[in-house]
């Protein structure tokens, strides 16, 4: 194969092979099916034919048979619709999806709308399937991915193109990488088709507007956010401080929360990411820190009080009203290229009041973190824990297992918007 599509196919196979080295076992990718100027019906026909015959002959071990000599059955758990702005973004998405197939047998439809172009040849399609040996016991996880380039007027009616290509009756997730065009007609159409929308708030061009719009979206199964997923381990470590009853009594008296997050030392500086990961754009590195602050604030019932330092180059400081104490919230960017922009670097929680002083610390240090509790006048429980930043595939994968609205996230999201709005006000 030659030409850009051929190259893309070749690269895809190469990525796939590389990924498999990380996996447990060999995988099998069927040859790619490609057709220019095709129709939705032809694409749907090819998709249904994929599973009529056993695995193709390239598989050295032959097709997998069950005890009665039948080809292996197929399991699917979801549909995923992804919309990207251009071919380059599609390539990035395809690579993320490759890492995903190991965990979620699914059908992914990647849409690349191209405004303009000839109306009589609206559709190019590329279909590939990937199977992974899941357990070594002959189980295979298969997923297939359809990349559709849609031109002309059809690009404004994506829902009609996607609908026939979904597997019936399975949950459908809409993943919108980058900055979602809220209130755009196509965006709304696709949102209607899905049960759940997945975004990455760190990709939002206008963070405040984006957070507010997202908070007001009403989806049946809620909204997923890769940046929220990045916080999962930080939340777990934070909650662990207060699992022990003797430290839980400090919770109502928290008086200070300082969050540090990474920003690049120079615009465009190289970012170190996991080998299989593709660097996602980070338009809003503050998103993660804001969501973390919003999470703590809503869980502990903190209210906005006044702005101490308005948002500037060194972050912002707010005074919040806690249940018993006033709380000093500080969000501070730290220039570093050691971690991906936006990742949290340090969280320090301090408590004052009748129960005595205590400080709870999480400091990231490369792929580990130091976690410490200083309370009752002694350093108790200093320990190191693993702190590996998950790749985009892992984040997406974790979000795809969620099938209902996450009230804790929705609360944190609304609070994050309020905190950011407050930070933008002049100090009182």
């Amino acid at each position: 194969m030659t030409g850009p599509e051929g190259r893309a196919a070749h690269e895809e196979q190469a990525v796939h092979r590389r990924l498999m080295r990380f996996g447990e076992a060999e995988s099998l990718a069927t040859p790619m099916w490609e057709e220019r100027d095709t129709t939705v019906r032809a694409v749907a026909g090819h998709l249904s034919s994929l599973w009529d015959s056993p695995a193709p002959a390239e598989d050295a071990d032959g097709p997998v048979f069950t005890e009665k000599g039948l080809p292996h059955a197929r399991a699917s758990v979801l549909n995923l619709i992804v919309t990207v702005v251009d071919g380059a973004a599609a390539d990035r998405v395809v690579q993320t999806l490759l890492g995903l197939g190991v965990r979620h047998p699914s059908r992914a439809v990647v849409l690349v709308p191209e405004q303009g172009g000839a109306a009589d040849e609206p559709l190019d399609a590329r279909i590939s399937t990937h199977c992974h040996d899941a357990t070594g016991g002959g189980d295979r996880i298969c997923y297939e991915e359809v990349v559709l380039t849609v031109r002309g007027e059809a690009a404004s009616h994506l829902n009609g193109i996607v609908a026939p290509l979904l597997i019936h009756d399975l949950p459908t997730h809409v993943w919108w990488p980058g900055d979602p065009p809220f209130n755009d007609a196509v965006f709304d159409q696709l949102l209607e088709m899905g049960d759940r929308l997945i975004v990455d708030t760190a990709d939002f061009g206008d963070l405040l507007t984006g957070l507010r719009r997202l908070a007001n979206l009403r989806r049946h199964s809620g909204v997923g956010d890769l940046t929220w997923e990045r916080l999962a381990w930080w939340q777990e470590l934070t909650a662990q401080f207060f699992d022990a009853p003797r430290f839980r009594r400090y919770l109502p008296n928290l008086s200070r929360l300082r969050i540090q997050y990474a920003v690049p030392t120079a615009p465009g500086a190289l970012v170190r990411v996991a080998q299989e990961d593709v660097t996602p754009g980070v338009a809003a590195p503050m998103a993660q820190a804001l969501l973390y602050a919003g999470w703590i604030a809503t869980r502990l019932g903190w209210k906005r009080y006044r702005t101490l330092e308005a948002l500037g180059e060194s972050g912002f400081r707010l005074r919040l009203e806690g249940r018993h104490e006033m709380v000093d919230l500080q969000v501070e960017p730290i220039a570093t290229d050691a971690v991906r922009p936006g990742e949290l670097l340090s969280v320090r929680v301090r408590s004052l009041g009748e129960t005595g002083a205590a400080e709870f610390i999480i400091d990231r240090d490369g792929e580990d973190a130091m976690v410490a509790t200083n309370a009752d006048g002694m350093t108790a429980l200093l320990r190191r824990v693993s702190m590996q930043a998950p790749g985009e595939s892992e984040l997406l994968s974790a979000q795809l297992t969620v099938d209902r609205a996450d009230r804790v996230y929705e609360d944190a999201l609304r609070a994050a918007a309020i905190l950011l709005a407050s930070a933008r006000e002049a100090a009182a």
Binding site: K68, E236, P245, T298, T373, L381, S386
Partner: protein, 539 residues
Amino acid sequence: MTVPTVDAPAATGRPPATQGEHQPRPNPLREGLRLERMAEPCTMVICGATGDLTERKLAPALYNTLLGGFLPPEFTVVGFARRDMGDEAFRGHLLDGINKHSRNRPAKPAIWESFARGIEYHRGDFDDPAAWVELAKRLERIDRDRGTAGNRLFYLAVPPSLYPEIVSQLDRAGLSASGTHRRTGPKRGWTRVIVEKPFGYDLESARTLNRVIADVFDEDQVYRIDHYLGKETVQNLAVFRFGNGLFEPIWNRRYIDSVQITVAETVGVEGRGDFYDSTGALRDIVQNHALQLLAMFAIEPPVEFAAEDLRDEKLKVLRGVKPMTPADVAANVIRAQYVSGWVEGERISSYRDAPEVAPDSQTETLVALKLGIDSWRWAGVPFYIRTGKTLPSRVTEIAVFFKKAPLALFTRAGVPQIDDNILAIRVQPDEGILLRFGAKVPGQGLQIRNVNMDFRYGSSFAVDSPDAYETLILDAMIGDASLFTRDDEVERAWEILQPILDAWGSGTGGPLHFYAAGTWGPPAADELLERDGRAWRRP
């Protein structure tokens, strides 16, 4: 504009089983987190810490639980054994186990070093009261220094013959008390004890063992491990039945013809000859694993999916299994022993030639038996159980045979009688569920062929399932006894099997058959089903 506040959030996760323990306000930050089950700070004391179980199972389970973030920061391990070694050597022993046997390996140095600071070794003889007094002092010091709040989990990783000694020493050293203990009264924190199988050797020894433990501990402090119950599929059995509307209505004698439970191993007695020759397949597998599978399969819907409700229902099933008369034993129980043969391409020598096995051993390595459950749901449905060593494949499954269609519509069209529909629940390997039904072969004419609809957990959820020990140790720390067996269940299982042991002992229980390694057992095992017009499924 204000930040939305939340009302006092409800705790997620299950509350500890022990009632009356001091319950502080739940941690509001836990709400909605993915890790909903968080163990309280506690110290785990491993009695018999230098043994095989600690190295192969416990150390990897603890490490993986730690990596998953399930262990509280205060968590402390004290290894207690006779061997002379220091803290460092003991940590090395655990680290070896992790690096050899853990599903995540090798251990990450920084994480391990941090965890290892909370690992200590306590040298002493189990029969030396002073060693236990020292242990009590050590645990108090750990409570003070590491904030383990008086919560203690004793893991008896020792042969059952040592249980009475350890249990009474725990009592004497004042270590058996728990928050709600009926005798010792309130104490800060809880005390729980994990007991490994075998739970006794026969009915009498099981009763004695239970009594010894009950003299010191309340039943809700005792966690008897049957690692089969920690497996995902066994837990999924309940979800399959009670989480779906489709299957429960046909889960009874009206639609089910018979049930086969198979626990097949390919290995021989390899290195366990001494233990196995005095145990046999009935005690080793049927008493615990097979009867627990039977009970989980056959239970009535519990009132709640909680430990006591589940165990009440399991006990009800076991009480429905009527103990056999000697004549029943001769007719319904087949025992056999393997002789040399080939399994998986390797030659296996006869059981009697294995090291530490008596040359005239009468121990069974295979049991096939037929049981019934006298209940409204199951009356008249035979349950066939078979378990054996050196069988052709390693598989554990429950196969449900459904009754045939009432009218043989297609025999007139020249189609022979259609096979039974089968639902097979596979516990290991390849955990999953398979449904076999007849379908028309496409084309002119009428031809019917069996097709399998095969669902595998592995192909729908490709995640690393936690090892059974990880699940179970964590459950014990949280105080959830759902997946542990209760004293009355253990005794009832022995009551069912005691007549078989007695009949075999007195020579009235039918002969010992022989089968070649690598076969599915002696012809007598097949005849057990053939006389009912049935056949074993080839799993």
